[in-house]
Structures are given as C-alpha cells and as structure tokens.
C-alpha cells in the first residue's frame, strides 16, 4: 500500500457514481493498467464507501491517482477498511 505510485502498477484515473441494477448507487472506477490498457471496475455502494474511507477521500476526485492496490486491500480486509483509520493509499 505504501509503495510509490508509478507506471508499474494499475492506478485509478477516474471515478464516478451511477445507479446500479438493484437501486443502489455504484462506484465506477476507470483503471489504467501497467501496459496502458484502460478498463472499468464497478463497486457496490458499501464497498465504494469503504474504498473512499480507506483512501482518506471525501470526494470522488480524490480517488484519482490512487493505486488499484487500495481496492485489493479492502477486498481482502473489509473490517480494516471500515474503520478508515489504517494506512491511507498513496
């Protein structure tokens, strides 16, 4: 999580909120991978809120530039992410 963000890891390059199939908001992330390919990732409401907390972000725009590793971490340890008090993403 504390590794510097560079060209050797996927990063979030855009974030938006959209309505999901089940009537809940979803976080839509645009990810740029190491090889330059850009793809989307969709996170349901609770996980999206956790990601923002984990990254110390209070606004979608603050996710831009964060490493994809942040998403991996909250998926692996949602309890830790819930607190939002652990190491913020770089």
């Amino acid at each position: 999580m504390n590794q510097p963000v560079g060209q050797n890891q996927p990063i979030i390059i855009a974030a938006d909120v959209s309505g999901g199939h089940d009537g809940q908001p979803e976080l839509i992330l645009k990810i740029r991978y190491e090889n330059g390919v850009v793809g989307d990732a969709v996170m349901e409401n609770a996980l999206g809120v956790k990601l923002l907390a984990h990254c110390g972000a209070s606004h979608l725009s603050e996710l831009v530039g964060k490493p994809w590793q942040a998403v991996i971490e909250i998926l692996q340890d949602t309890d830790r992410a819930t607190s939002g008090a652990t190491a913020p993403c770089q």
């Binding site: 609770a46 606004h59 979608l60």
Partner: protein, 556 residues
C-alpha cells in the same frame, strides 16, 4: 356470434405493420375475425374509439413465482396490459423443490424479491408441491394472466446435490440427474432454464448455479436442445469484458444445441458509455453467425434510494456531506443536531440550501407512514417550501425526527439518456424486457415499463413508432421465446388483447403500498391509459378494476 366484439379501434396487430381501423371479434378464447362486425353479433361489446387494440404485452423477465400463489393476476402487471409473464428467472424458481430445501431457497427469494419472511411461512400460501408440475397445478386454478415459466438452475442443483450445491462442482452422475429433472420440468410446461453468475442468497453467498462448471451448463443446454427451449442467463453485467465472454459462451451453446438464449440486464450508464456499444457489437457478430443471443434491455431509468443511517455514494460528490454521513451513528446525530454542523451542511449543499441538488429528491418512505403519508412521494423542495426551510434543512430535520430512517430517492441515476436508450430499444437485435417485475419490491417499482416505453420513446423521443413499440413487446417476444399462437392479432391466435389510449398510456407515480400478505410493503406504479385487458378471450381488467377472470394459462 362472438363472445366479445371490440369496436372502432385502431388495430396494431403486433406485426409492425401500420395500424388500421377495424373491429375485432373474439370467440372461444381466440381471435375469430378482424373486420366490420355488427353490434348484434357480439355478446359483449367494447367500444375502442380513439384507442389502440393490440396483442397483450409479454414481460419476459419477472419474479412473480411466489406472488402467483395468492395473486393470479400478478397485480399490477395485468393492469398495465401485460397478459403473459415469464417467472423463474435468474436461476430461481419455486420448483422442483424438496421440503428440506425450502428454507434455503426462501432466503434466495427474499434476497431478490424482498418479500417478508412470513409470506413463506404459511401466511400467503401452503406448500403443496415438490415437483415442477405440482407447482404449476398450485397456481393454475386462479391464474388470470398467462404464465410462461422458467425452471431455475439453482433449484435443480439443490434437488440433486443438497448442501453441496453451494460447495462444489457436480459429478457426471449428478449432472445426469439434473438433466432428468430439467426434462421433467420442460415436459410439464417450462419454457426454458434460467441460470445466474451474479445472484447471492440471504447470507450473501453465491447461489447454487454459480458453482456449476461449464460442462454442467453444457449438459443442461443439450436437454434444452431436445425441446428447442430458452436459456436465460444473468451474466456479470457490471463487467463488460466478462459480459462479452458470456455472449460468446451463449452463442456457442445456441449454435451447438440450436436453442435461443437471452441475457439480462444490459443497461446504459453515462459513467461507462462504451459498455453497451461494445456488448451490442459482440451480440451482432454472434447473431451474424446464426446464434441466438438476445440482450434484454429495460425501458425505465434507474433510480437509487438511500437514508442517513448508512453512508451512500450519493453524497460522494460533496465532501462535507460525505464526511458527515460516514460518522458513527451517535456522532452523526450530534453533528446534524448541532447549530454549527447544520450550518456547514446547509452551506455545502449549494445555492439556496441545496435546492438544485437535494430539492428534486423524493421522500420515499417514513417509518411511521400512517401519520406522515403526506410526506411520501413528494419532493424535498415541496415539503421544504411548506415548512419555509431549505431542502437541506428539511432533509436533516426529517431524518433526525425519524431516527435517520427516512428514505430518499434520486431519480434517473442511470440508463436515463433517452437519446441513447431510445435507439437501443429500437435496435432489432434488442429484446425489450428485464423489468424484474415482482422483484426488489421494497426498493423500487418494477411495474409499468411497457407504459413508459410508449410515453417516453414513442410519444417522447420518437425512437420507435407505435407499431414498432407494440411489436417489440408482443410478437418479437413471442417469437424469441417460441410462444406459439400469441403476440399477434390474427385469426386463430389467442385472444390476449390490450386496449389503450396511445396519447395517454404511461406509468403512474411510484407509491408505497401494503398489499402483500404479512407486514411487508412494496412500491408499485399504477397504469395510465390502459382501458381494457383481455386474457384468452375473457375481460380480465378494465377501468373499473380487476375481474378475476381466471382464464390465464400456463403457456410454452
């Protein structure tokens, strides 16, 4: 002599051809004649002056499986002109089901449909079946709407594998048993098999179908091929690349076993504008090969709802509000209650205390609705004006007054750009559906998509002509699903008919009602502009109400 004569209407017969003025004679459940008919020749005469006379609408994606056990009209679907529904989607049907597996399946149904638990505890119906044909027998006697049932992959898996259905892949012997069960269901009247790669049970655990390996689905598709029946799939719709892979997988099964397949949902989003074009491009590639892979696209936009109790991404564009929403409950209440906190939030809400941002939100539900009904369904701006507050102040006060349990709705948060959705719906390779009727009942209304098709995309954007729109939800649907003798107003076809005012047909406002057994509630939308609905030759609904015609059939 006819049983019913519909006079003076504009016949839009479902074929897509231009409408024409004529009369329609119905006898013995069938369309008997289209042409000039004297009043004297009709037992019952319906004057359709100024109205369209069309085949009854067919809704190919519903979850009315449980509701049909106490409501054979699938209210309010019938009132919207829907005369045939397809339940059993997303891998879940109520049969075949061993008694021992009921609790597990109920958890899955409750997760999707949001029906209260007591509905399944004997309040609403008695469990009288295990086998698929016995379930159909349980609903048949009171049907006033036609039912084209899917059988669910998850329940077939549970029957054969018991608890292992949510633990592992099936053995060859177990797959053979599943094939036999599927054959039995198809023989009993199922129109196909549904499966899902997305759904979860009440413990947030993947439903049984998601544990199947591809050889299992292949074997089940082989059985569908014996009967030429449908495979319905919920792909990983949130990930376009995976959806495209599923389109390829369905295409291979379609070609290998000569079966139709359909997947749902496919919806548009401004946040991911390339998704639908990419998926449709692959659909068209596969259709060009001769595969049948029908993407289901809903007509209605996506609304979202939230309350102050749980943090919602709705606020993620406003740092002050989002930070406040993430506070622990007690701190949150203290912050909202404090003069300083309240001032900060009102300022952060934007001009006029959030008139533009929060004002359009609709108050969906208030816990003690009996004394606050005048709030539900109204916008925050309306209520705020009445209270001489800003929308932000009003929202905070309402939430504090009701322990943060007031729910608000933000409309049109996805699939809401009619300049994109309209042409998509008009695409000949798009199957209009995915209403989810009878599901998500405590979250949003899944009824009235047909009315919305006409109000928004025929009268509004003009993306479809009246005739094209009718065809999309009648003959096209019947053809895609192989429902013989339906979807067209032609002599000898089933007399499923909807008579509606083309200048009025629409969906009503969303409203909360408490009309399901037990203590639960649901959101519905009333029909607007639908004058009469005929099912298999009997009047099933008109503007005086439901008729309990009991002429619905299991169709396949």
């Amino acid at each position: 002599m006819y049983d019913i004569v519909v006079k003076n209407g504009l016949i839009v017969d479902g074929s897509g051809m231009p409408g024409y003025r004529s009369d329609l004679g119905i006898k013995a459940g069938k369309v008997a004649h289209i042409g000039r008919i004297d009043d004297a020749e009709g037992g019952q005469v319906i004057d359709a002056q100024g109205c369209v006379v069309a085949p009854g609408f067919i809704d190919p994606h519903t979850h009315f499986d449980a509701q049909l056990l106490w409501d054979g009209e699938a209210r309010p679907a019938l009132a919207h002109g829907v005369t045939t529904i397809v339940p059993g989607n997303c891998s879940l049907s109520l049969a075949p089901l061993k008694e021992a597996h009921r609790e597990g399946l109920v958890g899955m149904f409750r997760q999707i449909e949001e029906l209260p638990k007591e509905v399944f505890d004997g309040t609403a119906f008695e469990w009288t079946w295990e086998r698929f044909d016995d379930y159909l027998a349980a609903i048949k006697s009171q049907l006033s709407i036609n039912v084209a049932p899917l059988v669910g992959h998850s329940v077939i898996r549970m029957w054969v594998m018991d608890t292992a259905a949510q633990q592992r892949a099936a053995t060859a012997e177990e797959i053979e048993q599943m094939q036999d069960l599927l054959r039995q269901a198809l023989e009993a009247g199922a129109v196909g098999l549904s499966t899902s790669y997305v759904d979860i049970d009440t413990n947030l655990y993947p439903v049984p179908s998601r544990w199947a390996h591809s050889d299992e689905l292949d074997a089940l598709a082989a059985v569908l091929g014996e009967y030429g029946k449908m495979l319905q799939v919920v792909p990983e719709f949130y990930a376009t690349d995976i959806t495209i892979a599923r389109i390829d997988q369905l295409a291979e099964l379609s070609l290998k076993y000569n079966i139709p397949t359909t997947f749902s949902p496919l919806f548009d989003s401004a946040a991911t504008p390339d998704n639908v074009p990419r998926a449709m491009a692959r659909v068209k590639e596969q259709m060009a090969r001769g595969a049948r892979v029908w993407p289901q696209v809903q007509t209605r936009p996506i609304d979202i709802s939230f309350c102050f109790d749980l943090p919602s991404l709705f606020f993620a564009g406003n740092p002050a509000w989002f930070r406040a929403m993430r506070l622990p409950t007690e701190e949150k209440i203290a912050f909202f209650s404090s003069t300083e906190g309240r001032k900060k939030l009102v300022e952060a809400a934007g001009p006029e205390g959030g008139r533009g941002w929060l004002g359009p939100l609709v108050i969906r539900s208030v816990p003690d609705a009996g004394t606050n009904e005048k709030l539900e369904g109204r916008t925050l701006a309306e209520v705020a004006d009445e209270r001489q507050q800003t929308p932000a102040e009003c929202m905070i006060d309402l939430s504090l007054q009701h322990d943060l349990d007031v729910h608000f709705l933000a409309a049109n948060m996805g699939h809401n750009d009619s300049t994109r959705v309209g042409p998509l719906l008009a695409d000949p390779m798009v199957h209009v559906g995915a209403s989810d009727g009878g599901a998500h009942i405590a979250s949003f209304a899944t009824y009235g998509d047909t009315g919305y098709l006409f109000s928004e995309f025929v009268r509004g954007s003009g993306s479809l002509s009246l005739e094209q729109a009718v065809k999309k939800i009648t003959l096209d649907t019947a053809n895609i699903w192989g429902l013989k003798g339906r979807g067209l107003l032609q002599q000898g076809f089933a007399a499923d008919v909807v008579i509606f005012d083309p200048n009025q047909i629409a969906r009503g406002e969303e409203q909360a009602v408490r009309d399901i057994p037990g203590t639960g509630m649901r959101y519905i939308r009333d029909a607007i502009g639908v004058n009469s609905v005929i099912v298999n030759g009997a009047l099933a609904y008109d503007q005086t109400g439901y008729k309990e015609a009991h002429t619905g059939q299991v169709v396949s």
